[in-house]
Symmetry: C2
Subunit: 333 residues, 2 copies
């Protein structure tokens, strides 16, 4: 048997013998409240377990304290991916720092229920939304941009105009990777990366090309193999690439590198003796491979933290933040 009357500020006030304004002041830690009144109000609030209605609060204050992260990704991809794990951890941290509540909206497919999707980010629902760039999120990003939604995009969408965006320096990263392989004396340096609908892949190819060109080499397009950014994709791409006899490979994602290792092992090719490998991402798994993978480490958690920071800022001006990456040299190259 619990309380009979619906709890509101008014009701709490009635029980204490003060007005709802006073209760509101107590709840919001307003200074101008008599200590004894404050104590009595707090006692009743405690005793009743009263929680102010969030919808009413949001309506009047025009803010919810909620940050949404939208991920247009298959659930099993989402959960298998160390990138999201780190990103979410970073966003969570950022939210904690800014006193915001973090909520993830995993969306199996944008096509599926566009009505819900747009409702989710209507006014009064979240204070801001973080969207990760990817082949399926481009339309959503454009809609939200045009609607003036408070949004930060992580990564590189097709159209970056008019966005607040945060990304890592993909081009330089792959340039570092390829340069490292060249400097180690490798002659036939190949590239394995995601298909072109993943825009970061294009940037990484650019870096790879740039490094070769800078070293006075010509780019052999047959040494560039693209596939889905999964272990299997890396495996397939490697099988294709190995036909052309590379003595080094820059793999544009660590996950694909796992597949590349598999393909190399199957052929009996030694790493790095026969084929040197440099990855990109810096996932934990890269260090656990045999041999440990030399890779370009990107600060994923920081990306998440900074995204929240950007969202929390007053300014809503278009802006790009590009974070630097680092080459971690291990045994594979």
């Amino acid at each position: 048997m619990r309380h009979t009357k619906k709890l509101t500020l008014e009701e709490i006030g009635a029980r204490v013998g003060v007005s709802r304004s006073t209760v509101s002041r107590v709840l919001n830690h307003h200074p101008d409240v008599a200590p004894d009144v404050r104590a009595r109000v707090e006692a009743v609030v405690e005793e009743t377990g009263f929680q102010p209605n969030q919808a009413a609060r949001a309506l009047v204050s025009q803010k919810t304290g909620l940050i949404g992260l939208v991920m247009l990704t298959e659930m099993h991809e989402l959960f298998g991916d160390p990138y999201y794990s780190a990103l979410v951890a970073g966003i969570d941290q950022g939210c904690a720092e800014h006193g915001l509540i973090f909520s993830m909206f995993p969306v199996q497919s944008a096509e599926g229920r566009p009505d819900l999707l747009s409702r989710q980010f209507a006014q009064g629902f979240v204070d801001g939304v973080i969207v990760t760039a990817g082949p399926f999120s481009d339309p959503l990003i454009e809609v939200l941009r045009d609607r003036g939604t408070n949004m930060v995009v992580i990564g590189h969408p097709r159209d970056t105009s008019g966005l607040r965006r945060i990304d890592v320096d993909n081009r330089t990263g792959s340039e570092l990777a390829a340069t490292h392989l060249i400097e180690r004396g490798r002659q036939r340096v190949g590239f394995i990366g995601p298909t072109s609908d993943y825009h970061y892949g294009a940037e990484r190819i650019d870096g790879y090309r740039g490094a070769l060109t800078a070293a006075g080499r010509t780019v052999d397009d047959r040494l560039i193999c693209l596939d889905y950014p999964s272990v299997d994709g890396g495996h397939r791409a490697a099988q294709q690439l190995l036909v052309h006899g590379p003595d080094a490979i820059h793999v544009a994602t660590d996950t694909m590198a796992v597949g590349v290792y598999e393909a190399l092992n199957e052929r009996g090719l030694r790493i790095p003796d026969d084929v040197a490998v440099v990855g990109f991402d810096g996932f934990t798994r890269a260090a656990e491979l045999a041999p440990p993978l030399t890779t370009v480490v990107q600060p994923v958690e920081e990306v998440g933290r900074r995204a929240v920071e950007l969202l929390a800022e007053a300014s809503t001006e278009p802006r790009e933040i590009i974070l630097p990456v680092n080459l971690h040299i291990r045994a594979s190259a």
Copy 2:
């Protein structure tokens, strides 16, 4: 250059030349609106990209259409775990069926920010919340239960009284597993499972004990080894158990079974010849092990779907739904 005035029902109505009530009716697909009026309103809504304010809607209708899933789990555990992947997929499906929006609240630590935690599930924020049972969620579950929050618990918390709860038949599952091993003629059947703060583990031990007893055997407690429900935990527990020379092991989670396989391989013990193994969970990875793992399959996605169903129901009476599990026989036993 976009619209100058803030868009509200009132403003849309003004532009069309009708009252805000009429606009509301159009938006909510109310039947009694003249076709031409409806068309004109829809045109302006479309043209302006107007979205009704969700906070205002929630305030008056007392519902948000939002279902929250709270997971008191470390981020990297969460993302590595196929259980959550399947569960979230099921919940997402359930929400889609009921026209609800699904939102996940990953909470790194309950201790960290109790104020936020409780604010998250205050009135007017979500229509209902799903909480997964686990060692850290017991306090939260009790608070929400006492507050009368619309909640469904997945799994087995410490105190199940007064809850709407959905779970799988852990006891019977482990009974099936152990019985299978006994029927295959195994003499020393061990048990490896999570530490006792994971309550489902206790149920699975019960099933294991029950099977031995039913077969007229005595339970040797030295053959029961508990550790964290991770690959490493399984590995450690197996090392400990192997000292006592089991010829079969029921591992209470597939994830731990991966670690058990490792330990067995290290000792040069063959599966199932030297030691037969039966897992529990039915994750994809179980089928991919060498040899493929015989395991008790639980319907995780269905658990998620049914949880939403339960939440969407009118009744808020305490209730328990226990779903059946199945033994999938493969090569490991």
